[in-house]
């Protein structure tokens, strides 16, 4: 297996400044959302890191971001850079993203292997790109640009899609070659993988094993939604048992450095989120993923 890419070696060993040394290197945390702010401000022991959605801080919140950085290791996550859109990156979005990244001083930044817009329409949410050589070049170029602009390692996330596009290679191969070309890591959204596996009827475990485990830096996890016989990623539910089994397998397979619960709505009581965080931490520790000597089943 190739070595951990240089671009994310800096994040090995975890949390950088301000997090305190609890001996753990794989961090478990939650996406920062304003309805959760009061609870997060109490600094529950279960929260070891936070993921910040860059767009939420484009217009305001600099002081708050600096305060969060003093208390938690942060990851910055983008939604709107649209790395898969042909042509140059949107200048204003990139400027805003880089500004937020500078304030937050995150361990790494992340975006998606997807597009959200073309030159005439902004679809507002993530859509799949074709797994071909042209998009390999395009997304790798955009990825490097974002990383260089922010001065931070970058990791890329897989997305859900109801649409399959005939490509030149399977998705895991595309992601692997993209990470190599862009010298970046992977943000494996386990929920997205699970949702796609149900809608497109493939084995998520086989898909997972096509990935280089050393490229998997961080995970996104949240419960899926089933509506009209289709699986969806609405980020609105607790992690279901079958999904947790897959998460556990990822922990066994890859030495992940960060796990984020990506809940966007229908927030439960804090103690329910704390339970979820604890369960993830227990599973992570069981496989020793935090120190790189993970067990593979």
């Amino acid at each position: 297996m190739p070595d951990v890419p240089e671009a994310v070696q800096g994040v090995a060993g975890g949390c950088g400044g301000g997090c305190g040394d609890n001996g753990m290197k794989g961090l478990v945390g939650i996406g920062y959302r304003f309805p959760l702010a009061s609870w997060i401000d109490t600094a529950p022991a279960e929260i070891q890191c936070l993921e910040i959605t860059a767009e939420h801080f484009f217009d305001a919140g600099e002081k708050q971001l600096r305060a969060l950085r003093k208390r938690f290791p942060l990851f910055i996550h983008g939604l709107g850079l649209s790395l898969g859109t042909p042509g140059p990156l949107d200048r204003k979005t990139l400027d805003n993203f880089a500004r937020v990244s500078k304030i937050a001083d995150p361990e790494w930044v992340s975006e998606h292997v997807a597009f959200t817009r073309s030159s005439d329409v902004d679809l507002g949410h993530l859509n799949p790109i074709r797994a071909d050589r042209r998009n390999l070049d395009l997304v790798a170029r955009h990825t490097r640009e974002v990383s260089e602009r922010c001065g931070k390692p970058i990791i890329l996330e897989n997305v859900t899609s109801h649409l399959s596009i005939r490509g030149e290679m399977p998705e895991p191969e595309f992601l692997g070659r993209l990470c190599e070309k862009a010298d970046c890591g992977l943000l494996l959204d386990v929920t997205n993988l699970y949702v796609n596996s149900k809608n497109h009827r493939f084995n998520p475990r086989s898909w997972l094993r096509e990935l280089d485990p050393n490229r998997i830096v961080q995970l996104h996890v949240v419960g899926y939604t089933v509506r009209n016989d289709r699986y969806e990623d609405f980020h609105a539910e607790a992690i279901q048992e079958d999904l947790f089994e897959l998460i556990d397998e990822v922990f066994a397979y890859a030495p992940v450095k960060g796990v984020i619960i990506e809940r966007d709505s229908h927030f439960p009581a804090p103690h329910d989120l704390e339970n979820e965080l604890r369960n993830l931490r227990t599973a992570l520790e069981k496989h020793g993923s935090h120190d790189g000597t993970h067990t593979t089943s």
Binding site: E55, F58, D59, A60, G61, E62, K63, Q64, G80, G84, T85, P86, T93, N96, F115, R117, S118, S119, D120, V121, D122, L123, G124, H125, N127, I129, R130, D132, R134, N135, S161, H162, L163, S164, I165, R166, G167, R230, E232, F234, S265
Partner: protein, 171 residues
């Protein structure tokens, strides 16, 4: 036209998807899809396209429903079809897209006479989008505590620049 741009067109245009379903080659030619992408574009699954397009609209509806709760409640069973009809013709462009959607949907409802807009909610989403420092409104039916009451609605920004909303009620 490259495949990604062509896909954006399909996902944002129901009528175009119907044409594509009937004759993918004709739509490929009409859009001028690049030769390298021709095969992949033509083989896009129409059912997958519709499902993806519906998910995009559903996610927008989800967000706007969080911003216009009372308005959506008032629309009842018509909330979803009204929003879908609006959303297919309007695509926001900014990172504050959900507020753009909410404001435009309020305008749509009023223009079409398609339902009552909660004034307090409309004031809020417009305020956030306009970026003003301070606004005061008299609202006749401010939804609060399970009923609607006269209220003075004050919209302002805190020290961090975040928009805030306060209401003072009158009997």
């Amino acid at each position: 036209m490259d495949l990604t741009t062509g896909l954006t067109r399909l996902l944002s245009d129901r009528a175009l998807r119907e044409e594509f379903k009937a004759d993918p080659e004709k739509v490929s030619a009409a859009l001028g899809i690049d030769e390298d992408d021709w095969k992949a574009f033509r083989s896009l699954d129409p059912e997958g396209l519709d499902a993806q397009a519906n998910t995009l609209l559903s996610k927008r509806l989800w967000e706007v429903s969080g911003l216009l709760r009372a308005t959506m409640r008032g629309l009842g069973a018509q909330a979803r079809p009204r929003f879908m009809a609006f959303a297919e013709a309007f695509w926001p462009r900014d990172h504050r897209r959900h507020f753009e959607d909410a404001v435009a949907f309020c305008d749509y409802l009023k223009k079409e006479g398609a339902g009552e807009v909660c004034r307090a909610e409309e004031n809020w989403v417009r305020y956030v989008l306009e970026g003003k420092r301070f606004r005061v409104h008299w609202v006749r039916e401010f939804p609060a505590y399970g009923s609607r009451r006269w209220a003075l609605q004050i919209l302002y920004r805190n020290g961090e620049g975040y928009p805030r909303d306060r209401a003072f009620f009158f009997r």
